[in-house]
Amino acid sequence: MTPLEQIQNLLVVETAGIPRLFGMSLLEHHILALILTAITTLALGLLVFIAGPNKRLNQIFGLYSLSISWWAIGETLFVSSPNLFIAETYADIEWTGVFFIAPIFFHSVCLLTSLRSSWIRTVLRIAYGSSFLFLALHFLFDIIALDPQPVAYLPVYNLLTPVGFLVPITFFVFVNLGLWKLCSAYRQSSGQRRIQLRFLFWGSLIGYLGGSPDWFLIFGFHVPGLNPFGIYGVSLYSIAITYAVFQHRLFNVNLVIRKSLVYSLLVTLLTVGYFSLVYVIERIFQTTLGYQSVGLSMAAFALMALMFQPLKVGIQRFVDRVFFRAPREALVRQVERLEEEVRQTERLKAVSTLAAGLAHEIKNPLASIKTFTDYLGARANDPAFLAKFQKIVGGEVERINLIVQQLLEFAKPVPPKLAPVDVPSLLNETLDLLSNELVSRHVEVSRNYQATTPVLGDSQQLKQVFINLILNSLQAMNGAARLELRTAREDTTVLVTVADNGAGIAEQDLPRLFEPFFTTKPGGTGLGLAVAQGIVKEHGGHIEIASRPGHGTAITVSLPLAT
């Protein structure tokens, strides 16, 4: 007998007395559970990693899944080794996975729950440090595990050395630390985050409770029932986490990736199933009838091709129903949340526009004030300078005051005190207020009041609207200036039009006229029309502008009747 044959003979295992369950021996169950664990954890790790290859959490969780898969593959190969020599090599693979599972699990939990304190970093260093220490002790000094030997129903397994006892101790310390942190984060969370963490906590707990009996074997104990069936629990962990990834957006895997992965997986399974069916039928024919039928194979393939599409559609419907159907209440909550987000974004955008405009409008007068005050010391005795100082600085301060005042009116309009308002009288009062401006600019004013029915409004606020509109017109007019005020009734509203023969408004500027701080006039604040529109809206009316460059502008305010 050669030395190799002697080694191989050591592995002859008597299986006659070992009970069988579901037609398989305990060893076969052990191997099947490990293979399932390897496949499911590897698939889960890949899924999470693909969803965010640049994100640290996804990278570490991918590594964590890989370490479990590595252990499962190593142990599968180890317990089914053909001889002791090869068994030792596979045991090395298994141990490498075992050393790193707990630290990477703890690391994943830290990232998932945003734990970043200095003591967490220290614990992580210790965790990874112990893994590398075990790696060195195992590979360099071989003092972690004893030589492979039969244990319980397994033909070959590793028992631990006294030093090796440190491995399960550190394993349980870091796993329990991770579970504790996960539990704490879960208790402090709410909403979807709470659901995600619940799946992660219970999934991990089931996985570890299931995988733990494997450690009993290392101590030489076989607990009937727990060994080897506990290992199936690790697959349950992967399935639970995968379900949470699909259904509860754990790791933020987006819908497109989730759907495509599920479909790909199922379509692959379907294809494999079809091929297996064809293969089995072929084998049956070959064994029972003793011949191979090319025609039968072709027919099976044709059937497969015909059935593929309807079955694929069926699978898609099934996937949508099982994985992507959210409860109605959840959908309503999601829609409400999205609407609130849109409103919030719009508000922020408006504030940002206002802030930018305000900054611009105030910086210009500030620049003038600053320059003039800088020169004040040196030119305090220059009467010409002092006159300019008074004019410019006084004017700029007044301008800032006006901007702030108008902005306040725009941002927080006072609710109108509604009462019947006689529009022609109001327009006449407004013209009286602006008479100096009208006379100095030689403006010809015409009044065409066809509607005399009162409107419902706040006379002071409406006066402000017409002052702003008329001032706009005045600033647009040059030469022979004509201003026309018209009123007309239309159904339940009164239309008030302020028309001028000024420069008109360029077509591209029309959509922006009501934007705060938008102005086409030198020295304009860009708030007049915005304030006017705000007031009119508060009255339940609206403003329309018609303009032709070079011909003039007509602004029409629509106000509700008082009756």
Binding site: A356, A359, H360, E361, K363, N364, P365, L366, A367, S368, I369, K370, T371, F372, D374, Y375, K388, I392, G395, E396, T520, K521, P522, G523
Partner: protein, 121 residues
Amino acid sequence: MGRMRILIADDEEGIRESLNLILGEEYDLAFATDGEQTLAKAKEGAYDLLLLDIKMPKLDGMEVLRRLRADGDGLPVLMLTAYQSVELAKEAVKLGARDYLPKPFEREQILAAVRGALPGR
């Protein structure tokens, strides 16, 4: 050699007067209050430098600069604006502006930028 001539284009009287205070003793100044006026004056070819505000009526400063460069006018231009936008600054420089001065400005900052931008310096 006569004094250098600078065209100041800004629709704000306060800004024009401020720049007059800062630069008036050293340079001959002329003023424009909107984009079209600026373009017309700049095309006279009588100026050594243009201080150009971005936000102006009729034609904004960027458009004025764009049209000047499109006509092959190499008049040195310093942009003035209260918008502290890096994008605008980059665009103005890309269009051929020498520099970009944010408001409110410092006297020394204006003088240094003008001296740096004038030809022969």
